[in-house]
């Protein structure tokens, strides 16, 4: 019981802290690519503390506030259902499908909050965010379906165990390289990085969902970004890179996944909504389906 | 002549006599003539009822004039005949003409119709059948023209031409039969049919008979008079013609099929005609522009159903034919009562439910029954029909599929009207119904509901009637006791 309670506290906390590192890494990598120095080490903390420490905090109604709670609550829940080295949390009580759906709760919360701000820029942003979700989730579900059928279990603890018992040769990335590749692209879309950041579009729709976010509302979004980097990275590592046997190898793997994403993002411009959909439904989906076909051949 | 013989002869003789007497009686007062006519019709109902309860499974037979069959004039009364004698009389009673439609002339013609119709179903030989058919035909030409307007005369003339042609076809057909078999007594023909009428001649005779009787039975393609006449004739005439008289021709075809023509080719000929009739009737009704024509076309389709039922082998087919015919005899006259008041384009019916809720409600009930919605009688009729068809399989299954598809079309045009009736009135409101206007239809509606409640005993009774009608052997044995 106590152990479970420790899990419940530690898992989101680690996620947040390592998320801060990932955010810093992302900003620094971006700066390096642009031949800048980049922010100082504590910059993510400075930003979040400053936003929470704003003296005035404007709200657009109760739903705006609740959305912030759903945002954090959803991600905290997601962390608890995502096994990491030594901490299984509640991963046995809900599987990968559950996790994927839990990860939609904060998105829904954010969408509702932004909608209640009564700012069309925000609504357009949500419209685009949901559209891009539809775009990247299609390859993503292909990847999930293939991987879960490959592992024969949707329990993430099993998925990790299978890969760890068999070594690198049973890692998803070696057994299902095509699905792993398609999954990487889908993850990139999930992170909302260029060329798929159509719903932020600062110059076009004034950062979309964030347009009316200020103070701690914005701060919560910064916190969410930490969780998001971490969750997406851990999910990918769990499914394709052998999961976490120990923190020392686990965290670098997570960082590496995120690194790939942030390293390639800078060379892109922004796709139009239509192009995001077409691209996502064409290439990663096709690659994923071919990978799925291989998986099905192996299973049968 | 036994006491049963009276019930066979009187239904023909009494109305016939009445028809000749009526103009004389009318000199003492129109009302008296009317009363006499009604009394005679009531008597006919009673006679039908007596015959029904008397015959049981054994049909009553009598040879008029003392000559035995096959030489004498044979009357054959089984439950089927009794049923239609009664139904014809009930129809005539409910829709007894009013003074404004020709007065005593109309009464006379109606009585003539009753006499001819009773004779048609009771006759045991082909020639008498032809005679009574002609009596029915003449009476109905007169009635069709009794509206007294231009359209009525035009329609009646077309009816007359077609009817006359049809009668001559019948006559040729009878001639062929006589040439081949040498007898006109149905029982005798039935006995001889397997050897004399199984060839091309027999088939040709059947074709001509079907087409000839088909004029009255509203079979395609000799039914072109139907929409005109039903649209132009007075409602009471239309109701009787559509509801009852058309079925009498069907009874004749039934007798021919059961007794004489078992040939698969004959069956398939009739089936083809029936299917085309159903399709043409339902589809034409879908595009009909007013209620009268809609029901006229629908009537054609329903008779196609009866004809289709007749082709289904064994008792099931006869039962289905009787059931569909009886159901139609209840429903369609009631429809025509409603249509009599709601004339003109369908669009003008909007608001009908407000003006005449009873008529609108009745319309829905009748429409539901004719489409075949359980537990109304129409459903059971269709159940028997389609059940028999699917049991028979093969082409019958195809025919059943056609019937099912046609039912959807039927629902489309009927409920299009229902939807319009329930819509708020756009311009002029549809006509209001006085109670007396609607009462015949209400009576038929009540009959329909009662029939729903007692569907099980009715089904049993009709099954018995169908079984005895389907029994060709017993027909021959009863009429020609020594000759089997």
């Amino acid at each position: 019981m106590l152990e479970l309670f420790a899990d419940l506290v530690l898992m989101p906390l680690i996620a947040f802290l390592f998320g801060l590192v990932l955010v810093l890494m992302a900003r620094r990598v971006r700066a390096k690519i642009e031949r800048r120095v980049g922010p100082p080490v504590l910059q993510p903390i400075y930003d979040i503390v400053k936003l929470y420490a704003k003296k005035t905090q404007i709200s657009h109604g109760l739903m705006h506030d609740v959305s912030i709670m759903m945002l954090l609550g959803g991600f905290i829940t997601a962390e608890i259902f995502l096994p990491v080295p030594g901490l299984d949390g509640l991963a046995a009580e809900g599987d990968l499908v559950t996790l994927v759906y839990i990860m939609m709760v904060p998105m829904l919360g954010l969408a509702l909050g932004v909608g209640s701000c009564a700012n069309p820029n925000g609504s357009i942003g949500i419209s685009r965010a949901l559209t891009s979700m539809l775009a990247y989730d299609v390859p993503f579900v292909v990847v999930i379906a293939g991987a879960l059928i490959h592992y024969g279990s949707s329990n993430l603890i099993d998925v990790v165990r299978i890969q760890q018992e068999g070594g690198v040769s049973t890692w998803g990335v070696t057994t299902m390289p095509l699905l792993a590749f398609a999954g990487l692209i889908a993850m990139h879309g999930m992170l909302g990085k260029e060329p798929f950041e159509l719903y932020i579009a600062p110059a076009e729709i004034a950062t979309g969902p964030m347009v009316e976010m200020s103070g701690k509302y914005m701060g919560a979004l910064f916190v969410m970004q930490c969780f998001q980097f971490y969750t997406v990275g851990v999910l990918y590592v769990t499914m394709f890179l052998g999961g976490g046997e120990m923190w020392l190898t686990f965290l670098p793997k997570v960082a590496a996944v995120i690194f790939i994403s942030v390293a390639i993002t800078n060379v892109f411009g922004r796709y139009k909504t239509e192009d995001v959909i077409r691209w996502m439904w064409r290439w990663p989906t096709a690659i994923g389906l071919v990978g799925l076909a291989f998986v099905m051949l192996k299973v049968n | 002549m036994t006491s049963g013989a009276n019930t066979l002869v009187l239904p023909i003789v009494l109305p016939l006599l009445g028809a000749f007497l009526l103009p004389l009686v009318a000199r003492f007062g129109d009302g008296l003539a009317r009363a006499l006519g009604i009394v005679l019709v009531v008597v006919n109902i009673f006679l039908g009822w007596t015959l029904w309860s008397a015959v049981g499974t054994e049909a009553a037979v009598t040879a008029l004039g003392g000559f035995e069959a096959p030489l004498g004039i044979v009357l054959y009364g089984d439950r089927l005949a009794a049923l239609f004698v009664a139904v014809l009389a009930v129809g005539a009673l409910i829709f007894w003409p009013r003074a404004e439609h020709g007065g005593v002339k109309a009464y006379t013609l109606t009585l003539l119709l009753v006499a001819g119709g009773s004779g048609l179903v009771l006759s045991g030989d082909l020639f008498n059948i032809f005679v009574f058919y002609e009596i029915v035909a003449v009476a109905s030409y007169g009635l069709a023209a009794s509206s007294g307007d231009k359209a009525g005369f035009g329609a009646a003339l077309r009816y007359l031409v077609l009817g006359a042609l049809g009668s001559s076809l019948v006559l040729i057909g009878i001639g062929l039969v006589y040439a081949a078999a040498g007898t006109l007594n149905l029982a005798d023909i039935a006995r001889l049919a397997p050897e004399k009428l199984s060839g091309t001649t027999g088939l040709a005779a059947f074709l001509l008979l079907v087409l000839g009787f088909g004029v009255k039975a509203e079979l395609f393609p000799v039914n072109t008079w139907v929409p005109e006449v039903y649209a132009a004739a007075p409602m009471r005439v239309t109701a009787i013609l559509a509801g009852v008289v058309s079925k009498l021709a069907m009874v004749v075809i039934l007798r021919l099929l059961v007794l004489v023509f078992h040939d698969p080719a004959a069956i398939s000929l009739l089936m083809a005609v029936a299917i085309v009739t159903i399709v043409a009737g339902e589809f034409a009704a879908y595009r009909a522009s007013d209620l009268n024509r809609t029901f006229a076309y629908s009537s054609i389709a329903q008779l196609g159903l009866v004809a289709l039922a007749l082709t289904i082998p064994a008792t099931a087919g006869i039962l289905a034919a009787i059931a569909v015919a009886l159901h139609h005899a209840v429903v369609k006259p009631a429809f025509f009562v409603i249509a009599a008041k709601w004339r003109g384009p369908l669009a003008g019916l909007a608001g009908g439910a407000r003006v005449a809720p009873a008529a609108a409600g009745l319309f829905v009930l009748l429409a539901l029954s004719i489409i075949g919605i359980p537990p109304l009688p129409g459903f059971w009729a269709k159940l028997v029909l389609l059940g028999g068809a699917f049991d028979a399989g093969g082409a019958y299954a195809f025919a059943a599929a056609v019937v099912l598809a046609a039912t959807v079309v039927e629902a489309a045009y009927l409920f299009r009207v229902v939807a319009r009736i329930w819509q708020p009135a756009a311009g002029a409101k549809p006509a209001h119904f006085a109670f007396s206007d609607l009462s015949p239809a209400l009576l038929l509606g009540v009959i329909l509901i009662v029939a729903t409640l007692f569907v099980a005993p009715i089904g049993t009774a009709l099954s018995g009637a169908a079984a005895s009608a389907a029994d060709a052997g017993s027909y021959v044995a009863r009429v020609l006791p020594g000759r089997m």
């Binding site: 100082p40 910059q43 400053k50 | -």
Partner: protein, 250 residues
């Protein structure tokens, strides 16, 4: 749309005035405030109001040449997200309205830096009928950068100065807007006319957060309230009710 709603009468004496003195604070509070101030100073989100000519100096300041992200300065898009409002160059009467709107939509603590001479004294437009001569008459300004135009180095310098000021807890010009709102509003009305108003209910906000001073309300805010009532009575289509009224009406 009845006219029975009454906007609360503004009394001369505000109920509370809760701008705490430094001495009143507990030690924990002091530590926390110092930490917060430090974070504020190291994380400046900038909204640049670039209608004037100074915008060209900002890209080099932010991008690889000088990289202001080194000290935590990064550009933001909407006033809601921003801490620092950069007024780059002259303001016409028309654009000043937008500046005031944007300023009021920023969240306190918020800072304003005026770029170049035009914001200080009108600069080369000193005799124009259409430009604003002194920015700090209409909104509180933390720092000015003199010059026409200032170099990126100067911009960096003002950022560093401002950061030091914030870190020391002395960049409190924004409080002045709440505490002396009536005076600011008066000068704004002087320029824009009596029916000038913004959607932000500054007085109510000041009351809510306890930044009410003697100058918060006055004759001009009274005008504002009157006009709000009047607008509800007559043409509600054009003048929405101000502040919380919009949501709290039954």
């Amino acid at each position: 749309m009845t006219g029975s709603e009454k906007v609360p009468v503004v009394t001369d004496q505000p109920e509370t005035c809760r701008v705490a003195d430094a001495e009143e604070k507990s030690l924990l509070r002091k530590v926390m405030d110092n930490f917060a101030d430090h974070c504020r100073s190291r994380s400046l989100f900038v909204l640049h109001y670039c209608t004037g000519c100074g915008a060209i100096e900002l890209p080099p300041t932010i991008t690889s040449r000088f990289d202001m992200e080194r000290v935590g300065v990064s550009p933001m898009v909407t006033p809601r997200q921003a801490d620092l409002l950069l007024i780059t160059g002259y303001l016409s009467v028309k654009t000043l309205k937008r500046v005031i709107l944007s300023y009021e939509q920023m969240q306190a603590p918020k800072y304003v830096v005026g770029f170049g001479s035009c914001t200080i004294n009108g600069g080369m437009y000193w005799n124009s009928y259409a430009t604003v001569k002194r920015l700090d008459q209409y909104i509180p300004v933390d720092s000015y950068i003199a010059g026409c135009m200032p170099r990126p180095e100067a911009i960096q310098q003002v950022f560093l100065d401002l950061m030091a000021k914030i870190d020391a807890g002395k960049a409190t010009a924004w409080q002045d807007y709440y505490l002396n709102y009536d005076a600011y509003l008066g000068r704004q009305m002087n320029l824009f006319g009596q029916d000038w108003h913004t959607p932000t209910d500054v007085v109510a906000e000041a009351k809510h957060y306890g930044y009410v001073g003697n100058g918060t309300t006055g004759e001009h805010t009274a005008l504002l309230d009157q006009r709000a009532t009047w607008s509800l009575d007559t043409v509600p289509e054009l003048y929405p009710a101000r502040g919380r009224n919009e949501r709290s009406r039954p």
